[in-house]
Symmetry: C2
Subunit: 334 residues, 2 copies
């Protein structure tokens, strides 16, 4: 069985797994955005009833996964494996959420590419003949991420024009070996790309080269095949850079958008360059894209998770910010 051309980074799935259920949980600000009505639940409380924001993020993951399992009509115990991650050091939102469900668990770190990375591995495992049900989950929380990566929230630091807003959001997906779709048909594994960006407030520029590298070089289809190519989350600046890179190749990306531009109203919600964080693309996928594939709004989507593998420690030592982009092709039909 040959599932990919030699030297390519794209695996074509032989029997594409079906997305059997999905769930999304967001915070107040995300609920006020253009996609506010699309999400499974919106909390007005940034603590989600917990004592700390870190605990809150775990609860968001648990709730999103519970929604996805309910839609799939399965108990948590049905999952043969759950793939997940988040932005916190040691990925604790995910570890503690996985503790509560007690399912077989693979922890990932892919920064904001985590939803695509987890979805990719969950699909590859099933298509490889391992198990019947797999899950993928990712989250971020503005209040856990900003103080860890940049400045204490109480500091009230002025945000630069290039900054993005870390989404308070979680998304989860449950895959089945068979079902009515939508389907995961292809997976392109990302490579770490680095063009020397050292500004922790300009993640879009750090990730854009990786997005370009994955979309253009390897999917083996023309960009016109997709009704929608969506990166997550490059924001306004990063998205413009990707458009420019394609433009240099003479390719017009008319069907291209970015989750960071879709989650918020950039004019009215003071998010500067747009949304970011693992939860941003996770929530747009599970709140909007999968529903649109099921309803017939779109037939083919290329979901490209983009992650800035940003470390305050490495930046302090003079390192630049590497980026990665994993792409997952989704289709309404097999």
């Amino acid at each position: 069985m040959e599932t990919k051309k030699q030297g390519s980074r794209t695996f074509a799935l032989t029997c594409p797994p079906s997305v059997a259920g999905w769930g999304s949980v967001v915070g107040k600000k995300e609920g006020q955005g253009p996609l506010g009505r699309c999400f499974g639940s919106v909390s007005q409380d940034s603590y989600f009833g917990e004592k700390t924001w870190e605990r809150a993020e775990s609860v968001m993951q648990e709730q999103a996964l519970a929604q996805a399992l309910e839609q799939a009509g399965q108990p948590a115990g049905a999952l043969d494996a759950l793939f997940g991650g988040d932005l916190m050091n040691q990925c604790i939102a995910t570890s503690y959420a996985a503790r509560s469900t007690g399912v077989p668990f693979f922890g990932l770190y892919g920064a904001c590419s985590t939803m695509a990375e987890s979805l990719a591995l969950a699909a590859l495992l099933l298509d490889g003949g391992f198990g019947e049900w797999t899950g993928a989950v990712a989250s971020s929380h503005f209040c856990t991420a900003e103080r860890q990566y940049r400045t204490p929230l109480e500091y009230g630091g002025q945000r630069t024009p290039t900054a993005q807003w870390t989404a308070t959001a979680a998304g989860a997906v449950v895959l089945a070996k068979n079902g009515p779709g939508p389907y995961v048909t292809h997976v392109t594994v990302g490579r770490v790309r680095d063009r020397g960006i050292k500004d922790a407030n300009n993640m879009g520029a750090a990730m854009a080269p990786a997005a370009y590298d994955t979309i253009v070089k390897d999917t083996g289809r023309s960009s016109g095949f997709y009704d929608l190519i969506v990166t997550g989350d490059l924001g306004k600046l990063g998205q413009a850079l990707v458009v420019k890179l394609f433009d240099q190749d003479g390719v017009e990306l008319s069907n291209y958008n970015d989750c960071g531009l879709m989650l918020y109203d950039l004019e009215d919600q003071d998010v500067h360059c747009g949304g970011s964080g693992c939860g941003c693309s996770a929530a747009v996928l599970t709140g909007l894209l999968l529903e649109g594939l099921r309803s017939g709004q779109w037939q083919n989507i290329l979901f490209c998770g983009t992650g800035a593998l940003h470390s305050p420690t490495a930046l302090g030592q003079g390192e630049s910010i590497p980026g990665i982009c994993h792409a997952v092709a989704l289709s309404a039909r097999r």
Copy 2:
């Protein structure tokens, strides 16, 4: 194709991938231990020629992977996917090492279970029909880990009797679809277990329940099948706890050891309860175990990566330390 019984967490690989190459890189102290002569290379310089210990850890991964690729007779470009991780926040040792090789990369976070987690996924991907060559890599460095998880090195804190010594070590493995072995025959996916341990200097106790949960409940073989069951890295206390848990079930684990007890001389090297860190089990696997399978010293080994999903932030908020254990069954013959 049914590769596991329903409700089990063990996948039996249909066409077990062959471990085509392995590499190990350790620091001075590890080179002075009982396995000192087994490793691919030993550095007397904790900086490995770099300006920071964080950069040094990336170099260790690059060197270990280069050894593994050389033994496999393949260039880095042959890898269809590399799975890897480390203990540092945002797993930067791995991200920057993956940047330098430029191969398709899946980032993982599994604390000290990372070598088993990456090996498991690299094997599942190949056996699933995806690609020809995959890689797995993990590392830790005493100087990057201790200051991040506990106290600044300069502080010279007194270590408790239950403490383990984070190994300065990296291990890498290259898998092939076919070859002369040793082979990865089974993978058991871990679950997050937590018995309420809150002592950051007692990781062994935090991980022991997960090791017991994975070894006893799910491998579907009697423990006597294996010439060696090896956990990594519970240390003296954690290992004793696992033995006790089995003892309560009336099972004597006569063939059981722990990488944390194998890497150092506990009497003479002042490591208290033994070794720990992703690099400890990675180096014992790639320095000793795979060689022993190839030479005929052992026929069947159950390699159980144990991780304490420990977070200083979560501990400070009153959380306990969850553990996880992924097991990979290795055999000299298919």
